[in-house]
Amino acid sequence: MDKRRYFLKKIANAVLTIVLVASFNFALFRILPGDPARLLLPKGKQPPEAVEKQRKAFNLDKPLWQQFIYYWGDTLQGEFGTSFSEKRPVSEVVAERIWPTVLLVGVGTIFATLIGMISGVFAGWRRNGTFDVVTTNLGMVFYSMPTFWFGLLMIMLFATELQWFPTGRMEEPGADLQGWDQIVSLVKHLFLPAFTFAISYVGEYHIIMRSSITGVMTEDFTLTARAKGLSDNKVLWKHVMPNALLPTVTIVMMNIGFVMSGAILSETVFNWPGLGLLAYESMEKRDYPVMQAVFLIASIAVILANLIADIMYYYLDPRVES
């Protein structure tokens, strides 16, 4: 299979999945119990005329197939309706929450990937050594830990007791910092949420990388590399690593797609004004239009991450071509 066809196939697949998920999103809010028009209104007083208006606004009075077409039209234009807690377009609400999440998730992911994978490589290379036993068991503890609980412990320890870091938010309320101070403040606010976010993935990446390395090390070509007189380091980085990365990349990318789950917990605990907190708030307020949008964004993130994984795989594994 040549390169273009491979990429086209993968992209077509991704687009197809996005269509499926978006349709699922459409269906989800219509199979839920209750009148969708009522669901799309704030709880409490729901005057019939408002419900009727809502019905019109969302074309809920039309047959289902027409609703489906309207839904697609709106979605493609980035129209998700009006948030009834904030009384402005959902797209606006979501847009201003994206960047904090990208920052948090980006920093957290980079650290988690680097630390987890590197420690995994060394643990796998010297399997059953002291380093391996310590890090792998620690990794399993991290993996078993609820993110939010770890966050609460961090707050308790570093914010309440030691007061090294603030308990939450992205900036001090009321403070108007400029330049360097602003960056320092941001980093201080970022540290605990990003650390909490990262720690839950470190364990997982460590375990995956370790088992991948140990698997590759039993392959015959590792023996060939040693027989060629290569030093251990060269064997590890030139022969074992490229092969061990293959299975790992897929899983790591897959996980990166699922950042939303981690973001929701980390942001909720630390009051970080990102999409995750938005998801929590809108759920609390039963703000369905926002939830719908967040859900769609989260799904698309996963699909795109998968697509990137497929593309990376193409460059990492020459066997994909045939």
Partner: protein, 490 residues
């Protein structure tokens, strides 16, 4: 001859199973230690031996919905009848099964309120404990008579189980996980004795708001934001966390294993359809979806289980599918086809037994994930407000600023319990993964590979040598050895 060990197991496990079943439905409020201050004056009950024993015969025990009992009756009778028609060796066992089916039927009738106004969901029976005891005893007898009729197979089963247990015991992580699980399992089962259920009543304050721990029993873990005993909440939470985890896993495994095997076993478009479905579910981020569903469907115990169950199956489906694909390529499947076996036969007799170890190990791992999921949903405030779980506790702790106080006695216990339980299940799952599968498989593969390549690599050769040792050790009856037919000297 039935192996002695087999009989011993039966004698040990029959009462254990009975006890566990009974404790699950034991009346909630028979505590050993009672704090009279939460009761209105003069109304505090007293802990007595007779009330403890009486609990085992209480009407709540084994009070299952009638339709479940009728279903069980139908299944058991069918099993026995098929055995009799097919002229299986274990005749007595099949008769016992019919008797058991009759007991179930009478029980179902009783639980549904008798012939007159039978209700499928009725909870009217009062003699559940007696029926349950009868059914457990009959089941044990069935197993006993099966072994009587098939002594070789009973010996084989005993031997296999013992081997698995031996291998498992050698795995320290697995054993650690088992100990932790037994601890929390006992905590959950014995909750009616350990903590007064009245303590969970919103009006049952044992101290001031956020009072730190003291030596008084219900104050061991201090109080929460309204002055209730954290210890009591903690103990009763174990039940919900474990039950939600187990039931959600049951749903997830049934869905995942079923779809995984179907997708792996059937080729062509059927596989495609199942895999597309799995893929689509795999890319749906589970937490936002669960939040949407929980918000819309409302917060209750069964909803949480259902939500976790239907959002966690795709992972299982993937793993099971790839293992099914591996098994499907093995030649004994082809051999079965060449004999003329039907798909159903191949799936149940060949694919399932070979995929089962993986499903089992995976199931244990899914329990860990399900418990974490429950905790997460409850923490976000989506849990059942009527039933405390560790996640709910953390939700209240967080929502009421326990971290800022810091009320560590409120934050730490549920979190540590979650970590320990999840870790325990992960350890057990990994241990089973190693014990049930690779050890057996590695052994087979290794001598297989050594044979094929003519002593390929020393590792393989050595593994084969090791395999020979284990295989010889496994030989149940005669010594596994040279081909005894041609005058080999053994």
């Amino acid at each position: 001859m039935i192996p002695r060990r087999f009989v011993n197991w039966l004698l040990l496990w029959t009462p254990v199973v009975w006890l566990v079943l009974t404790l699950c439905t034991y009346p909630k409020n028979r505590p050993l230690i009672i704090d009279p201050q939460i009761y209105p004056p003069g109304e505090a009950p007293s802990a007595s031996f007779s009330s403890l024993i009486g609990g085992f015969f209480a009407p709540t025990v084994a009070n299952y919905p009638a339709w479940i009992l009728v279903l069980a009756a139908v299944c058991v009778v069918a099993l026995g009848a098929v055995g009799l028609v097919r002229r299986r060796k274990a005749v007595t066992m099949n008769v016992m099964l019919l008797v058991m089916g009759a007991v179930f039927a009478v029980w179902g009738l009783d639980a549904g309120g008798g012939l007159g106004g039978w209700q499928a969901g009725g909870r009217l029976g009062e003699h559940g404990w007696a029926f349950q005891t009868a059914v457990v005893v009959l089941a044990a007898l069935c197993i006993y008579f099966w072994a009587r009729a098939n002594p070789e197979r009973a010996a084989l089963t005993t031997w296999n189980t013992h081997q698995i247990w031996r291998l498992y015991r050698a795995n320290w992580q697995g054993m650690l996980g088992l100990y932790i699980m037994v601890f929390f399992g006992l905590l959950a089962l014995l909750a009616p004795f350990l903590a007064d259920h009245m303590m969970l009543d919103p009006n049952s304050q044992v101290g001031t708001t956020y009072a730190p721990p003291t030596s008084s029993y219900y104050m061991w873990l201090g109080t929460d934001q309204v002055g209730q005993s954290v210890l009591a909440e903690f103990i009763w939470s174990a039940r919900i966390s474990l039950v939600v985890g187990l039931l959600a896993t049951a749903i997830s495994t049934l869905l995942g294993a079923g779809i995984g095997i179907a997708a792996g076993f059937y080729g062509g478009w059927q596989s495609e359809v199942w895999m597309r479905l799995t893929d689509a579910f795999l890319v749906i981020p589970w937490l936002p979806l669960a939040m949407v569903l929980a918000a819309a469907w409302g917060q209750n115990f069964w909803m949480i289980i259902l939500i976790i169950g239907i959002t966690s199956w795709p992972g299982t489906a993937r793993v099971v599918r790839s293992d099914t694909l591996r098994v499907r390529e093995l030649q004994f499947i082809e051999r079965a086809r060449a004999i003329g076996s039907s798909n159903g036969h191949i799936m149940t007799k060949h694919v399932l037994p070979n995929v089962f170890p993986l499903i089992f190990a995976n199931t244990v791992l899914v329990v860990a994930i399900a418990i974490l999921s429950e905790t997460t949903l409850s923490f976000l405030g989506l849990g059942d407000p009527l039933n405390f779980s560790w996640g709910t506790m953390l939700h209240y702790a967080w929502a009421n600023g326990a971290a800022g106080l810091p009320a560590w006695w409120y934050l730490l216990p549920p979190g540590i319990a979650i970590v320990l339980v999840v870790l325990a299940f992960t350890f057990i799952g990994t241990a089973f993964d190693e014990v049930l599968d690779p050890k057996l498989r590695k052994r087979e593969e290794s001598d297989d590979r050594a044979k094929k390549r003519g002593g390929k690599s020393p590792e393989v050769a050595v593994a084969a040598a090791g395999g020979a040792v284990t295989a010889a050790g496994l030989g149940a009856g005669p010594a596994a050895g040279p081909e005894t037919d041609k005058g080999g000297d053994r």
